[in-house]
Symmetry: C2
Subunit: 225 residues, 2 copies
C-alpha cells in the first residue's frame, strides 16, 4: 500500500527562525548570466525540491516558503555537478529548514532523529532555455521573485518537442513528514501551510508548478493522524 500516506497535524510541528538567506544574484541579468555560464561549464542544471505534506483539520496542506510577502516556492535548490539527488535534497532541506547546528548537536545528543524521509518523485519540470520572460514593469528593479515568477512560464512538465538539450530539470519529491519536527525558517522568508483546495486551479497566484501539486498528490490516499 505505498499509495497510502500518513499525515500529521500542522500543530505537531514547531517553527522557529534563523539567519536570513538572501538571493544569490544582484539582478535578473546577473542571474541569467550565471545560469548560462554554469550550463556551459557543467551541463544541465539539476534542481530538487520537496513537497512537505501535513494536515489541518483533515485536509492536506503543503509547507511552502513565501518571500517578500508575495512569491511562493518549495524548499530545495539546485545540485552540484555529480551530487546524488536524494542526499542533495536532504542537504538543501537542512540548509533551508533545519535549526542551526548547535541545536542539531542537541538533537543528536538527545537521540532526536532529524533526517528527512524522501518519497516518490512526483514531477519533473524541464526548462528548454534560459531566456526568461523579463517583467516589463519595475524598470529593471531587481526583486528576487519577479524573476522566479517569470521563470515559471517557460518550464514544462515534459521535454518539449525538438528540445534535445534541456537546460534544467527540476524534480519534485514527496517528503514524508515525521510525527513531530522542529523547523527553522530564514528570517527573510515565511513558511506557510497552504491547503490543496487553495492551490488547486490557482495558477494565477501560485504559478503552474505549485498549482499542479493537488494533481500530483491525487493518487495517494491520506490517513489523518
Amino acid at each position: 500500500m505505498s499509495n497510502t500516506i500518513a499525515l500529521y497535524p500542522l500543530s505537531n510541528f514547531t517553527f522557529s527562525t534563523k539567519e536570513a538567506q538572501p538571493e544569490e544574484d544582484p539582478s535578473v541579468s546577473a542571474r541569467l548570466q550565471r545560469l548560462q555560464n554554469n550550463y556551459e561549464d557543467f551541463g544541465m542544471r539539476r534542481t530538487v525540491e520537496g513537497i512537505l505534506v501535513v494536515h489541518d483539520h483533515g485536509h492536506p496542506h503543503i509547507l511552502m516558503l513565501q518571500i517578500a510577502n508575495a512569491f511562493f516556492k518549495l524548499p530545495g535548490d539546485y545540485l552540484k555537478p555529480g551530487e546524488d539527488e536524494i542526499d542533495g535534497l536532504k542537504k538543501r532541506l537542512d540548509d533551508r529548514l533545519a535549526p542551526p547546528s548547535n541545536s542539531q548537536q542537541f538533537d543528536q545528543n538527545h537521540g532526536i532523529d532529524n533526517d528527512w524521509e524522501i518519497g516518490d518523485c512526483l514531477a519533473q519540470w524541464w526548462r528548454p532555455n534560459f531566456e526568461t520572460f523579463m517583467p516589463s514593469i519595475g524598470s529593471g528593479t531587481y526583486h528576487g521573485f519577479t524573476l522566479y515568477g517569470g521563470r515559471r512560464s517557460i518550464s514544462y512538465p515534459f521535454i518539449p518537442a525538438h528540445i534535445t538539450k534541456p537546460k534544467e530539470c527540476k524534480k519534485l519529491f514527496l517528503v514524508q513528514m515525521p510525527e513531530r519536527k522542529v523547523l527553522a525558517v530564514p528570517k527573510n522568508m515565511k513558511l506557510l501551510a497552504i491547503p490543496l483546495f487553495e492551490l488547486y486551479d490557482n495558477a494565477a497566484r501560485y504559478g503552474p508548478q505549485l498549482s499542479a501539486i493537488p494533481h500530483l498528490l491525487s493518487r495517494y490516499n491520506f490517513i489523518y493522524l
Copy 2:
C-alpha cells in the same frame, strides 16, 4: 526503474471501427436521476479510466475518444458494485476498444495476446455531489458531452473539505501499450492521439482532468522505441 516506460510509435497500432455505442440516458436530467438512484442503492460510484500512451516522433501522445467532433474522454466507465477495479478497467477497455469477439476468437486461436497491462494509478477525482452545472444554452437539448463538460467543473483531485460521503471516485490508470495492437473504435466516436504539449495548460479545450495528464506523467522517463 519503475519510473521508466517504453513507448511504441502510433504507427504500430491499427485502428478499425465497430458498432456505435450510444449514450445510456436520453437527457441530462434522466442521467442525474439515474446517478442519484444508483448512489442510494449502491453507494459511491466508482469509475475507472485508462491513460493509453504512445509516441509520435519522440513526443508522448495520449489516445482519447472524441464524441460528436467536440468532446474528449478517456476510455473507461463506471464499475459494478463490488467489481475489482483492475479487472473492471480491462473489461471496459475491451468494451470500448477491443475488436468484436469474432476477431478476438481469431487472436486467441493464433496466440495473439490482447490483454491490457494496467500500470500505476495516476490520479483520483472526487465528485462531492450530482448537482451538475446545467448548460444554459441549448434550452434542454440533450447532447452527450455538454453534460460531460459540465460534470468536469465539479470534480476535484482531492476530497473537498467537509465532504464525508463523496458521490463518485474516478481513478485514472496508466495503461502500458504493447508493441502492437489492433483497436476497434465505436462508429459514433473517433480515437485521437493528442500530444502532451497540446493538452498542457489547455483546460479550456480539454477540461481540468485531461489537461492535467502531462503533470501526472511528468515523473516518468519515457523511452521511445
